[in-house]
Symmetry: C2
């Protein structure tokens, strides 16, 4: 099966590429290397089942060329600017890398009659609703980051394209995903900071911000588990873990694993790390649980394993 993997050189994309190849897919990886790196896919280069295009997905003629040439059967779309802090001062990057990539892929699917789509959405589509466990049926969705907006906008187009062209679309709303090869986020930042200065650690906010962290291996297992059972239309799943880990706890785990003692935590204060951040967040996961999927690792275990993999 010819599988287009958009964002395949990204942190999650590289892991999904491994799993797809293991299952016998021919993976056509498309990535502009804005956040993705050759490092993430270097072990796959040269393999017969793996093809790499460095291309901007907001460039319609370029995407069209790939579809024309490769006879795509399935599109996995993970390409995005996933660094929310960067886009806070540069919203256009979300339009370009997160939304237009979706639109162009959908348009090519329509033109070339490709019917199967997996789309990486995000908890950020929900916005800030600390009082509710967000389920797939929850509304209204009021994203507070440009990233969350571009993902919700992508979902919006997926609904119409799926209805109009009989697509089978699977949408997972990802939580914070961590693991080997991660490129940004709090775990990555803390390790980087502590390597530069092992005496003190600046922590944005008051450290109590808690989120569910999921290990990339659990995410990939979830995608592989459901990807061939998608009915016509759009199926949306929250995917994640029920447990959460606070920012301070992450700092504790990292310090312990690095063998650092008496690190002084310097809190910048306030309830949120930065504007557009959602300080606490909780999913209702009953839909994906009913479908027979559970993560193997808790949030704390995911953090611990990631720290060990990254160090």
């Amino acid at each position: 099966m010819n599988t287009l993997l958009a964002g395949g050189a990204g942190f999650i994309g590289g892991h999904l590429a491994d799993a797809l190849i293991k299952e016998g897919h021919r993976v056509i990886c498309v990535d502009n290397l804005y956040l993705g790196t050759m490092e993430n896919i270097k072990h796959l280069l040269g393999r017969e089942q793996f093809l790499f295009y460095q291309s901007d997905l907001d460039d319609y003629p370029a995407v069209n060329e790939i579809f024309k040439k490769e006879k795509i059967d399935y599109v996995f779309h993970l390409a995005a600017n996933s660094n929310i802090q960067v886009s806070a001062n540069y919203p256009k990057i979300e339009l370009k890398n997160t939304l237009l990539s979706t639109f162009n892929l959908l348009e090519c699917m329509r033109v070339y009659d490709v019917r199967s789509l997996f789309f990486a959405s995000t908890s950020a589509v929900y916005g800030e609703k600390p009082e509710i466990d967000m389920s797939e049926l929850s509304g209204p969705l009021e994203p507070i980051s440009y990233y969350g907006s571009a993902k919700l906008a992508s979902e919006a187009f997926i609904f119409a394209f799926s209805h109009m062209n009989d697509l089978h679309s699977l949408v997972f709303r990802f939580p914070n995903v961590i693991g080997d090869r991660l490129t940004h986020g709090v775990v990555f930042d803390f390790i980087k900071k502590l390597r530069a200065n092992s005496k003190e650690l600046e922590i944005l906010g008051d450290g109590t911000q808690s989120k569910p962290y999921m290990h990339v291996s659990d995410l990939v297992k979830g995608i592989m588990r459901f990807k061939d059972e998608v009915p016509q239309g759009v199926t949306v799943y929250n995917i994640g873990v029920e447990t959460q880990t606070s920012v301070s706890k992450i700092a504790d785990i990292i310090c312990e694993q690095m063998g650092l003692k008496d690190v002084e935590y310097k809190y910048t204060g306030g309830k949120i790390g930065w504007k557009g951040d959602v300080p606490t967040f909780k999913y209702d996961l009953s839909k994906i649980y009913s479908a027979g999927w559970h993560a193997d690792l808790t949030s704390d275990e995911a953090v611990l394993r990631t720290v060990r993999e990254v160090l």
Copy 2:
């Protein structure tokens, strides 16, 4: 007050321009004349309070020039491809005219620190949910037309831009709006067809498709009523009428007003007029009613008045 009216040469835009000028606004009308016409604004050309730019709103540098020059205080964004049947075969027009227009206006508002926005959204964001009276809190939103997708995508960006830049944004989800100067839709089509052939009338679907039709005068009154009372963030209102009019009833009203008897109705059959069409639809209007607004005309009255205005 310098008011940018995007889509100001459109059917609704022209009526809103009249109301804004009457209230003392300086109206900077921007329209690419894709659906808008000079006919709709010819009575305003040459007036000191009215300025017209023919410009594509998906052209960022062009939009930026207007903001730089005109010191905008308030943006009314009504520009869109509102002809859903056209975009069914050409989704890119919704990306270009409906979504990118929103993104570029929001980006210019961010850059030039413009804080007040009115956005024309649509009932099409809800998708097909005949069993529910859709309220502003309803979820999930699953548009089935590219038009509905582009409007929902626009709303998604309005949420993040409003949060990040302290905008005061008012979003009305329009129903079918009709009245003098309308350019498409069932009332327009039937009159056109009957003028060409007064013996028979082709009716898409089985004629029972029923929707609420609202007169443009009621819509404009609603916008003018709420536009200066918008708190920080995004305020969403369904706006419409509770009554509905079936397609067959519309045909009856038009035939009567045109003095035609014994017109043979030829139904194409089926429950929907065309793919992407939502055959029946009902709003929960309690939010806007609680805020003290009601339409003056019922759906049938709106159809009747429109037919009289157009004939």
